[in-house]
Symmetry: C2
Subunit: 271 residues, 2 copies
């Protein structure tokens, strides 16, 4: 069994460590990647190949962990080349997931007629979504797709995986719904504590909220506030994709009336 990674950042290097500990052979290529990525790849214990074409040919499971904007190109150029499973682990929207699904499924159905569960599941494409930080022992990888159970060996490597269904878009629906909640709460937390700081009452607000929101609230709030500035551009982009998806699913009036908070969340992250 050979697992190949296209893109070798934090996700790939964390997974590579676990896979190698679990006696799985890991390969990657550093074709066109940054110096930083090259270093990570060389230190990881993965075999480093010259090209992605070669990597796609060797891999039983080819995993895409690139930036969201590269995900479709990677699927098209290398995912479809591979004879094995192609797993997209990028934080992409359901619409991008559907675009990739269509690369693997050449049937002529009109996708718009059955969007929510399109059932266009090839044998090869699996969508994954990482819930939580990959470095956290509590993170879970949601997997969806017709052959998602073929990745169940990942749990033998100490990864928390959950196979959530055969419909390949499921993992990205759940990730999107989760974004509505978590990024919305981040935006609200930032706003409430900004007012509290101005009034000199941030500590008191935190103590008060812990009473009814639970102990975990304090750490979550601190992490949300501290990461706000450093992640706002990425979150603004992601919320744009969330809204694009909702706009696609709902008719215009419903979209406008049902998602006013989600829309406000997007603009809270605007620079």
């Amino acid at each position: 069994m050979i697992v190949g990674f296209i893109g070798f950042g934090e996700v790939a290097s964390t997974l590579t460590k676990k896979l190698i500990e679990g006696k799985v052979e890991v390969m990657t290529s550093i074709e066109g990647r940054s110096e930083n990525t090259k270093k990570l790849a060389e230190l990881s214990g993965a075999t480093v190949l010259d090209s992605y074409v070669e990597l796609a040919a060797y891999s039983d499971i080819l995993i895409s962990t690139v930036s969201p904007s590269e995900a479709i190109d990677v699927a098209q150029n290398y995912g479809t080349l591979s004879e094995g499973i192609f797993l997209d682990l990028n934080n992409i929207s359901p619409i991008s997931t559907m675009v990739i699904a269509n690369l693997f499924d050449k049937s002529d159905d009109d996708i718009s007629t059955n969007f929510i569960y399109p059932k266009r599941n090839s044998d090869k494409f699996i969508k994954g979504a990482i819930i939580g930080k990959i470095s956290s022992p509590n993170s879970v990888i949601y997997l969806s797709g017709y052959n998602a159970q073929k990745l169940s060996f990942l749990s033998d490597c100490g990864l928390n995986i959950e196979i959530i269904g055969e419909d390949v878009e499921l993992a990205s629906y759940i990730k999107t719904l989760r974004s509505i909640y978590t990024k919305g709460v981040t935006a609200i937390t930032y706003e409430a504590f900004s007012a509290a700081r101005d009034l000199g009452l941030a500590k008191e607000l935190c103590e008060t909220l812990v009473l009814t929101e639970g102990d975990k609230m304090e750490d979550l709030a601190k992490s949300r506030i501290n990461s706000f500035d450093g992640t706002k551009n990425r979150k603004f982009q992601e919320m744009g994709e969330v809204l694009e998806f909702l706009d696609y699913v709902y008719d215009e009036n419903e979209f406008k009336s049902k998602f006013s908070m989600t829309n406000a969340t997007k603009y809270k992250f605007e620079s």
Copy 2:
């Protein structure tokens, strides 16, 4: 020691029970109140007087537990009559609290010059804010005001009280800041789960959120969604008062740029 209640709904009847168990004498009046209130008062064990004027005269501590819209009138008509402590326990905004504070403090300072900590604390007026549901054993009553420590006997009656400072508005600042957060999260929760339900993934969204938001998230989310329709009018009003306060504290541009989520929260509760 005689405690008198103006208004006899759930808060007053819950507190009366504890006070009587703690050997404190409780009085109220049902002048002009509804049949329901009359019944609650008569069953409670409180002494029922004919008029509020009489009640104000007898009470060492006069507590106002009416509807927010009546709070200022009650303070003006009866609170200022009493020789004892006047405790407002209504869910009113910092602006209404300030209006009441001014009824008890006849100094000529321009309040607008030192709004955030106005220090206009009379010996008599104490502001209280109930955090959580009064019926819950975890609820806490925040008290602020120059003589707030005079109410520390309430903890001997099994009430969780916390004296948070001498500045009488403090309790209502904290309640307001808390509203920005809790009502904002309610609005986001409703929106995220509305989309999840439409996609048939409400259970999955909940399971996913519990992973990172903590166990308490599930009960909180259910309670927020289930109470949404029944409480939206009240919450719309309350968010209006929150925004009125923020508009007062901040200049126009800051108010607009800093509180977009809070503004969206208000309109989420609009009928």
